[in-house]
Amino acid sequence: MTGRQLITDAKNTWCPGCGNFTIQHTLKNVLADIEKEGKSLDDIVLVTGIGCHAKIADYLNINSFYTLHGRTIPVATGIKLANPGLTVICCAGDGDCYAEGLDHLIFAAKRNIDLTVIVHNNRVYGLTTGQYTPTSPRGFKGKSTPLGTMEDPINPVGLMLAGGATYIARGYSKKMDLLRTLIREGIGHKGFAFIDVLQICATFFPAADYYTPRVYDLAGHDRSDFNAACRKAREWDYNGDAPIALGVFFQKTAPVFEAKSVGGMISAAEREGAIGDLLKKRT
């Protein structure tokens, strides 16, 4: 299907000023680019979790699987293994991907399965109206932590470096051009691509005044240098006052996780023959 309307008729219910608009618009542009390059959008699947981010499944007029909270990656893994010809993109949230579904994230990185995971990291639960997430800063006062959290945030970039992801980047919802480059590169990367997107939550965590003066572009950083990537990842710990690097921290080529054989590899008659051989062996 070419020249399709990329946005559905579904009513958009994100708050005014929400960073999700930027991510959706960016993704839409990337899809348009991909189509211009001659690839059919019929071969793209968007997999989302549950949370504000996930509404993008209703809004983008492409194949989608609107899954459960934290469960984008295992569903996406099944889809990719079932049909390696598909391009599978996960849009996940920070509570979604770093709390409820953290095990899947680490295993996807470990496997180097060919997926692109975009984490809409607004560092707060929006849809459940304002609780802290794994990336909220220490002392964050949310509805479940009115006295302020007593734990440090995790650093997703460092986590993915340790986990073995082969494309690791960070974007910002107020730097659309860079985000477009990162997502396009991530989709093109053969292997597990991870993009943490600092996203503004206009209602519960409007942190633009914090991010904007601190962010800088990683241009010039050698993305093949793992140790340099670790140093850059540690520069800002999602907590204190430090420069915040945006761009690609790390990229390498590595073997991709693939299914050995997915059905259809042998005929029904061959299968029946194999079953017959097995039964003979057991006699």
Partner: protein
């Protein structure tokens, strides 16, 4: 009737299960029908393991309490099972490590004489057993040759030495049956799934389902399937749903604890209308319970698992022939109706080895998967008369396939509109009506024993073996629903027609099937329940039935 029981015991790590399998093959080749029960604690080395091989002239799925042969590889085999000995029980023991009365052989001496490694000790034991049971050497040689592919000659020489050393003490008359395949319940489930079109099997190890994972992983290239072992059971079912949404037939396997983790994914399958087949093999619960022992306490859990209301198929095969048949049917039904389909098993069936007469497996009815015909724009959840929406998968030209866990409209876009929510709930419920009709064309309820018996045993799953064996001589009817959801109330009432007394026989503490049947007005006057992790044996069951009979 010819029948024999052989007990083989030793330490974990002695290869008791494979020695049992070989003894079973020896009996298979002199015409006996087999059930092999393997009892082992949840540890890797050092504990006491034993296998009981039951051979019978007609099909069997259970073990008796008394044994005719004891093959002892450790002292505990002799001490612990004394109450199952008869005066004439023939004992063969490894006299290097066991003190007993009977025929002792020194495995050490035999192995030294043949310069054979320790691992071949079991071949000596089997050779000794063959001689003691009067099994001709030609048969023994043929069985060992076809089932020990590695170092066959050396194993045969070891077996022959023991064969020559021992006397025939309990000659077994051959039975008039041809040998048939010996399969575990899990192997039969796996082959049935493959016949039903399985393309991917996803599982996280958990006893007693793990042997299906191992079997399919080993055979994946021969059978042309993908086998995956992901990070946990949550990932297992979601990967399977990913496969299904992309058009590949997937199944998962687990036991109660792992299934707990799958319930959110199960509910997703219900809402998103994705086909998936689940083997749930029960062990003793609650919680970690007795990992390597049996039970039937998860039926109502499987029946009700997952939030919300959605149709599901549950089948509980009682034999390997039924496991072969119903696992294929479960694959077909899951895809025809876009519902989750369960194969409910237990340790007794999953890990037990049965003579499997494939000529008894009915032909699998053809099923059709409704596919998008391209006549109108694709809507994943189009509201049809049957409630079943035609399928298309990502990568199909011109189709936007939107799968959704939220309440959704026909296109798969999230909605909270009351009318639409109501309409789509009704659509899913209509699938259940269709499913009920479709299942009424299958043999949903098995009746055996004396079909006109005034007293009926109502059982399900693997207790089939013990119930069938007891019912015949007592003139009882055995009524066993194989389909448990949708509940085949009409077929069950027909099967019980004329029975003046119904006795529930279940391996749980609360008579779960009986309580469900009660909701349909089917009353069980008496209940015989066992929940210590051990399967019913015919002699124990017979005694309990006599206690409750009027």
């Amino acid at each position: 009737m010819n029948e024999v029981s052989v007990l083989i015991g030793g330490k974990a790590g002695d290869g008791i299960n494979s020695a049992g399998a070989m003894a079973a093959q020896l009996l298979n080749h002199i015409g006996y029908r087999i059930y092999l029960y393997f009892d082992y604690p949840s540890l890797i080395r050092g504990g006491h393991n034993y296998a009981i091989v039951r051979g019978r002239e007609i099909a069997t799925g259970t073990c008796g309490s008394m044994v005719d042969f004891v093959l002892a590889l450790d002292q505990e085999t002799v001490e612990r099972h004394k109450n199952s000995w008869k005066p004439e029980t023939a004992v063969i023991y490894n006299r290097d490590v066991v003190k007993a009365v009977g025929q002792g052989i020194s495995l050490k001496e035999i192995l030294a004489a043949e310069h054979a490694p320790e691992i071949m000790g079991n071949s000596a034991v089997l050779g000794g057993f063959a001689k003691a049971a009067g099994i001709p050497w030609e048969t023994t040689e043929a069985v060992l040759s076809s089932h020990i592919p590695k170092k066959t000659e050396e194993n045969l020489r070891v077996a022959r030495r023991a064969y020559d050393l021992l006397k025939t003490v309990h000659p077994l008359p051959p039975c008039n049956n041809s040998p048939v395949p010996l399969l575990t319940g899990n192997e039969a489930v796996g082959l049935g799934m493959v016949r039903g079109g399985l393309e991917a099997y996803v599982s996280y190890p958990m006893t007693p389902s793990s042997s299906l994972l191992h079997f399919l992983a080993e055979e994946q290239e021969n059978l042309g399937i993908t086998v995956l072992h992901p990070e946990n059971e949550i990932a297992v079912i979601l990967m399977a749903l990913g496969f299904a949404s992309a058009g590949k037939k997937a199944a998962v396997g687990t036991s109660g604890g792992g299934f707990c983790l799958m319930t959110e994914g199960l509910s997703l399958a219900g809402m998103a209308e994705l086909p998936v087949v689940l083997l749930v093999s029960q062990r003793t619960g609650p919680s970690t319970g007795l990992p390597t022992y049996t039970g039937q306490a998860d039926f109502l859990f499987v029946l009700h698992a997952g939030q919300g209301e959605f149709p599901r198929l549950i089948v509980a095969p009682g034999t390997t022939e039924e496991a072969l048949y119903w696992s294929a049917v479960a694959m077909n039904i899951a895809w025809e109706f876009q519902v989750p389909a369960f194969i409910l098993s237990d340790k007794t069936l999953s890990e037990g080895t049965y003579s499997t007469d494939c000529s008894l497996v009915p032909k699998i009815p053809k099923s059709t998967i409704p596919l998008w015909d391209r006549t109108s724009p694709y809507r994943r959840y189009s509201d049809t008369l049957s409630g079943i929406s035609p399928l298309a998968f990502p990568g199909t030209e011109g189709a936007v396939v939107k799968v959704d866990s939220y309440s959704h409209d026909e296109a798969g876009i999230t909605t909270e509109e009351a009318d639409l929510v109501d309409q789509m709930a009704k659509k899913r419920l209509r699938k259940e009506e269709q499913l009920v009709q479709a299942m009424s064309r299958y043999p949903q309820v098995s009746v055996s024993g004396n079909a006109a018996g005034m007293v009926a045993l109502l059982c399900w799953g693997s207790t089939a073996g013990a119930c069938d064996e007891v019912a015949g001589p007592l003139g009882l009817r055995v009524v066993r629903p194989v389909v448990l959801s949708p509940f085949p109330a009409d077929a069950l009432r027909n099967a019980l027609d004329g029975a003046g007394m119904v006795i529930a026989v279940e391996e749980n503490a609360t008579a779960q099937l009986a309580s469900l049947a009660g909701q349909y007005g089917i009353v069980c006057e008496k209940k015989i329940l066992r929940y210590d992790g051990r399967p019913f044996t015919p002699d124990i069951l017979r005694e309990k039935i006599r206690e409750v009979l009027p």
